[in-house]
């Protein structure tokens, strides 16, 4: 492909969106910055699941829910393969790649994100 010389292609800058493009990309960078704030996650055992001595923790909001699941498994001393089902508000299992921040904004109760855990499937 032969590139045309820049001079012959120059068009008035007001016709192009170069500035707008730069502004948009800068805006994207701003929105990519991770939210360093923390939210309170409260764990509640269901059925035969062991109860935790401490049941609420401050967790970084930008973490994925998967990190919450892994944290919970560690706290419970669960081995790989041990069954653990997690739910929000005794209602549904969130996608593991959703962020704690998103879940908190949509489902918090009195400033807590309530995570129920069970060793058997409870709410599908």
């Amino acid at each position: 492909m032969t590139a045309a010389s820049p001079d012959t292609r120059a068009i008035p800058s007001s016709w192009t969106n170069a500035d707008g493009g730069k502004e948009a990309l800068e805006a994207l960078e701003t929105y990519k910055k991770k939210d360093p704030s923390k939210v309170v996650v409260r764990f509640r055992a269901i059925g035969n699941a062991p109860i935790m001595r401490q049941n609420f923790y401050k967790i970084t909001a930008s973490n994925r829910f998967q990190a919450v699941i892994q944290f919970l498994r560690k706290e419970l001393g669960w081995k790989a393969g041990d069954p653990l089902y997690t739910y929000i508000n005794m209602a549904f299992s969130p996608a593991p790649d959703d962020t704690v921040s998103n879940l908190f904004k949509s489902f918090q109760t009195d400033g807590h994100l309530i995570v129920n855990y069970s060793t058997t499937a409870a709410w599908g």
Partner: protein
């Protein structure tokens, strides 16, 4: 951005016929995929050079549901008999051309749209003037799925569970509980997934209409006349009383914003306060959708089901007519000619 001169009365898009039409259009939307088997993983004696399979996949479907079709192509054309016996489809998984993991539990249309908006923000973006849809290139690996990074098993069953989770989450967002979903019989819950698997619009909507709100005509003054409902299959989409299940009566519309290469934003969208898509975008992305520059070119655009969506589209209507089969309105934001 008022590109549309004549404003449509909201009710024009909320008649039973147009609700059924937009749901049908959403359901029938497809995207082109180019699936290439990783050449390093082809079994011995495979027919090399043919390990690439092109298909149009439904937007509302999921990658694990395409495996049987891809598999039968590979067995017919690419693998020899011995090769066909070696491969185990439980271990198959997909990767993007650039090596990024594919969120295989996302609807295929969402995977396609997030890729499209990522391109819009990259320096190597092709001219946006070419309107022909470009196939999304995926690499199919035949072994060793990175389960820790995929987060879930790459199987149709795990995908179904994730889909059910999304439906329940959407239900909770709308009504503050999951009674509509849990009120479905097990066979109806399974029927939703089977409807996607078989790509059967009527089978899916026969059940989905019990959990999806319906937009009521919003124009003040004229009260909606009791709609004459012919007992056809299409009419099942909107046979419930409009008040209790009206799209505008929900607490919040299940909606997420996807930015190029992340992040994903989710928040409550009460349709009374956050009435339009423009309101939603301005509230969460004021730098990309500023209020104070109506005379300048927009910085960004929003895709819903692959369609550039005007800012005055109503969130309640989008939730009822252009949500995916999992109940979510996915808004993918791209940047204008960077």
């Amino acid at each position: 951005m008022s590109t549309y001169g004549a404003r449509h009365a909201p009710s024009a898009f909320s008649t039973p016929a147009s609700i059924a039409l937009f749901r049908r259009l959403t359901w029938e939307g497809t995207v082109p995929l180019e699936v290439r088997v990783d050449p390093k993983e082809l079994p011995a004696n495979s027919n090399r050079g043919l390990e690439c399979y092109f298909l149009q996949a439904p937007r509302v479907s999921y990658l694990p549901l395409l495996i049987p079709e891809i598999r039968s192509y590979l067995l017919d054309v690419v693998f020899d008999e011995a090769g066909g016996r070696v491969v185990k489809e439980e271990e198959w998984w997909f990767e993007r051309e650039d090596g990024g993991l594919v969120k295989w539990h996302w609807p295929i249309g969402l995977i396609y749209d997030t890729h499209a908006v990522s391109l819009s923000a990259s320096a190597s973006a092709p001219s946006s003037s070419s309107s022909a849809p470009v196939p999304l290139k995926l690499t199919l690996h035949l072994a060793s799925p990175p389960t820790d990074k995929l987060l879930l098993q790459p199987s149709a069953e795990a995908c179904k569970q994730a889909f059910m989770g999304q439906l329940k989450e959407a239900d909770f967002i709308r009504w503050g509980n999951t009674k509509r979903m849990t009120g479905l019989r097990k066979q109806d819950q399974d029927g939703l997934w089977d409807g996607i698997k078989e790509h059967d619009f009527d089978a899916y909507w026969r059940i989905a209409s019990k959990i999806t709100p319906t937009p009521a005509p919003l124009s003040g003054g004229r009260s909606p006349s009791p709609s004459p409902v012919p007992p056809s299959s299409a009419s099942m989409v909107h046979t419930r009383p409009p008040d209790r299940d009206a799209a505008s009566a929900v607490r919040s519309v299940p909606a997420r914003i996807y930015l190029p290469d992340g992040p994903v934003l989710q928040d409550l969208v009460p349709p009374g306060a956050v009435r339009t898509l423009g309101d939603f975008l301005r509230a969460h992305l004021p730098l990309l959708f500023p209020l104070d520059r109506p005379d300048r070119k927009p910085l960004a655009y929003a895709l819903v089901q692959g369609v550039r969506c005007p800012g005055d589209a109503e969130m309640a209507w989008l939730g009822a007519c252009m949500a995916g089969a999992d109940g979510w309105v996915n808004v993918c934001v791209g940047v204008e000619g960077a």
